[in-house]
C-alpha cells in the first residue's frame, strides 16, 4: 500500500513532465505572438527609434525566436526565470514573495467554502425537500451566478463602507504594522510563530473579506457535489447492509456514507482550487492584494515576457502538485485506486 503510493507519485510526476514541457513552449510562443512590443512600452511615449532599438537589444529581443527560446531554456535549467522589466526584480523573487499571499488567500477561501459547503451538502442530502435542502439550492444558485468581483465589491460596500466592521481593502496588513519575520510567507502562520498576535489579528481581518469572496464562489460546486454524492451513496446497497446490522445513524452517515462520498468531492475540490487560482486575479485587484494574480495581470498588460512566462509556469507546476496531492489522498481513502491504474 505504502510502496504503491510512492510508485504512484513517481508515475504521476513522470506523466506531468511532457505537460510541463508543452506549457513552456506554448507560453513562450504565445507571449511573443501577442500584440504589443515590450521595447516600445518600456521606452515610453517620448522615446525615439534609436532608444527603442537599444532597449530591444538589451532585452535580447533582437535575436531570433529559436535563439531566444534556447536562452530561456538554459536560464530555466539554472532556476533563473529572468527579470520582470516592469518592477526590475528577478521574476523568481517576485513569484516567491507574491505566491504565498495568493496561496494564503486561496487556501483560506477554500477552507471557508469546504467548511460551509460539506456539512450543508450532507444535511441537504439526508433531508431532501427540507428547508436545509432549499437553502442549499439557493446558495448554490447564488454562488454560481455572482461574479467574484461583484461579491467582493458588495462585501466591501457592506462591511467596510456601511458597517465599518472590516478594515480598508488595502493589502495584507494594516499600514502601521510590519510584516512578520518570513518563514512560510503565510502571514497567519508567521505571525503566530513570532507570537505577534496583533499582526495575526490584522492579517486575519484583512483576509476575511477577500477569502469570503472566494469562498462564496467555491461554495456552490462543492455543496452541489457533496449533496449529489451523499444522495447516491445513501441509496446504495452497502448502506442498507449497515442499517440492517443495526449500526447507529451516526456511523452509517459518517463512517459508511461520508467517506465514500468524499471521493467525488475531493475531485471537485481539486477543480475548484484551480478555478480559484484564476478567480484570484480579479479578487486581488478589488482588495489591492499583493498576490501573483495582480502581478500577472500587470505583466500581461506590459507585455513583460519573462514575468508572464514565469507566472504560467508557476501555475502549471502548482496544478501538477495539486493533482498529485489529490491522487495521493484518493489512494489513502480508496483501496481500489492504484490496483486498477
Amino acid at each position: 500500500m505504502r510502496s504503491g503510493t510512492l510508485t504512484l507519485i513517481g508515475r504521476r510526476l513522470l506523466q506531468a513532465a511532457p505537460a510541463v514541457m508543452g506549457i513552456i513552449v506554448v507560453t513562450f510562443v504565445l507571449t511573443r505572438a501577442l500584440p504589443g512590443d515590450p521595447a516600445v512600452f518600456f521606452a515610453g511615449p517620448t522615446a525615439d527609434a534609436q532608444s527603442i532599438a537599444q532597449i530591444r537589444k538589451s532585452l535580447g529581443l533582437d535575436k531570433s525566436w529559436p535563439e531566444q527560446f534556447w536562452i530561456y531554456l538554459r536560464d530555466l535549467a539554472r532556476g533563473d526565470l529572468g527579470k520582470a522589466v516592469s518592477t526590475g526584480q528577478p521574476v523568481l523573487h517576485e513569484l516567491a514573495t507574491r505566491l504565498p499571499a495568493s496561496l494564503e488567500l486561496t487556501l483560506l477561501g477554500l477552507l471557508f467554502a469546504a467548511a460551509a459547503a460539506i456539512p450543508l451538502g450532507v444535511l441537504a442530502a439526508t433531508r431532501p425537500g427540507s428547508w436545509v435542502d432549499h437553502l442549499c439550492r439557493l446558495l448554490v444558485t447564488a454562488g454560481v451566478s455572482l461574479p467574484t468581483f461583484f461579491t467582493g465589491l458588495f462585501l466591501v460596500y457592506i462591511f467596510y463602507f456601511l458597517l465599518g466592521a472590516a478594515p480598508a481593502p488595502l493589502g495584507r496588513l494594516h499600514i502601521a504594522l510590519v510584516e512578520p519575520a518570513r518563514v512560510t510567507g503565510f502571514f497567519l502562520i508567521d505571525s503566530l510563530l513570532a507570537r505577534d498576535f496583533e499582526v495575526f489579528r490584522s492579517a486575519l481581518a484583512q483576509l476575511a473579506l477577500p477569502a469570503s469572496t472566494l469562498g462564496i464562489f467555491a461554495l456552490a460546486p462543492l455543496a452541489r457535489m457533496t449533496r449529489a454524492a451523499m444522495l447516491g451513496v445513501l441509496s446504495s446497497d452497502f448502506i442498507r447492509t449497515a442499517r440492517a446490522g443495526g449500526l447507529t445513524s451516526w456511523t452509517v452517515l459518517w463512517v459508511y456514507a461520508f467517506r465514500n462520498a468524499m471521493l467525488p468531492v475531493l475531485t471537485t475540490l481539486g477543480m475548484v482550487f484551480s478555478f480559484l487560482l484564476g478567480a484570484n486575479v480579479l479578487v486581488e485587484k478589488v482588495f489591492a492584494w499583493p498576490g501573483i494574480g495582480s502581478f500577472a495581470l500587470e505583466a500581461l498588460v506590459a507585455s513583460d515576457y519573462a514575468a508572464v512566462q514565469g507566472f504560467v509556469l508557476a501555475m502549471a507546476l502548482m496544478y501538477v502538485a495539486l493533482n498529485l496531492v489529490i491522487d495521493v489522498l484518493y489512494t489513502l481513502i480508496d483501496p481500489r485506486v492504484g490496483v486498477e491504474g
Binding site: 446504495s236 449497515a242 446490522g245 443495526g246 447507529t248 481500489r336
Partner: protein
Amino acid sequence: MSGERLPLLAVEGLSLEFRTRSGTVRALERVSLDVQKGEMLGVVGESGSGKSVMSYAIMGILDPAAEVTSGRILFGGINLLERTESELQEMRGREMAMIFQNPRSALNPIRSVGRQIEDVLHRHGNVRGEKMRERAVELLRQVRIPDPERRFHAYPFELSGGMCQRVLIAMAVAAAPWLLIADEPVTGLDVTTQAVIMDLIQDLARSRNMATILITHDLGLAAEHCDRIAVMHAGHVVEVAGTGRLFRSPRHPYTAKLIGATPRADRGLSGLASIPGGLPDLRAALPPCRYSARCERYARQCDLGPLPSRELAPGHRVGCWNPIG
C-alpha cells in the same frame, strides 16, 4: 411445525403503500405470516410480489416513501411497528439480521471486510480491541473462509461473490440473532457456490437454533431447504403450507402453476409450463384477488368479497375462493 407455540415472528394483516409520483403503489395487502423458532420458512414469488418489501418492513429499513397502513409485526410478542428508530437500531443485528442479493455491492467497498464485521461486533457485542479482532477472525472461520487471518484485511473487490456472501453471513450472525432474513442470498452466484452457501446458511441456522426466512423466486431452492413455504403474488400471501404438503397438494392455482414451472430432475424440460400473464399494475384499481386476471379457475364469486384466508388443513392456508381439490 405446529402453530401452538408462540411464534418468534408474526406478521399480522400487514398492508403497505409507496407514495410515488406516478401514484400510490399498494405493495402489500393484509399479509400474514409466522415464523417459529429455529425453522426455515421460504417466501417464494415473482419479482415485484412484495417479498423484499416485507422483509425490509420486518427489519425496519423501509424507504421513507413507504407507509404501513395497517397491521402488526410481532417479534417475540413485541410490535416492531410501535418501536422507536433507536430501539429498532438496538434490535437490528442483535435480534434479527439480514443478508442480501449482490453480496459484493452489499459490502462497503472502501472498508476491509474484517473492519465491517468488527463494526457489528462493536455495536452489539461487548468485546473490544484484540478480543474483538479474534472474534471477527473466528466468525470468518465459521463461515468457512480459508485463511481468515489474512482475509480479515481484504477489501470486497479482492474477494469473489461467494466469499463476499460468506462475509455478509458472518456479519449477520456476529451478534447471534434469533432470526435471519436471507433475501435471494444465492441469486447471481454460480451453481456450485449456490449449494455451498445454502448449506452454510442451513448449518449455521441449525447449530444456533436460528429461525431463517429464505426469500427467493426459485421454488426448487425453497423446497430443498425450507420446512414451510409461503407463496406470494402481487403483494398477497396466496398460500402457506409445509413444503411436502405444498408440493403434494397445492390448493392455490398460482402455486400449482409455479410448481409446474419449476424444473425437476424426474421431468423433461418439455413438461415445463409457463404462467400466462404478468403481475397486475399495483398503482391501478385492483380486484379483491390480484391473481384473477391470470387465473383459469376464475369465477364470479372471486370479485364479490375481500380475499379470504381459509385454513383448509392444519397449517395449510389458502387465499382463494375456488381452490383446487
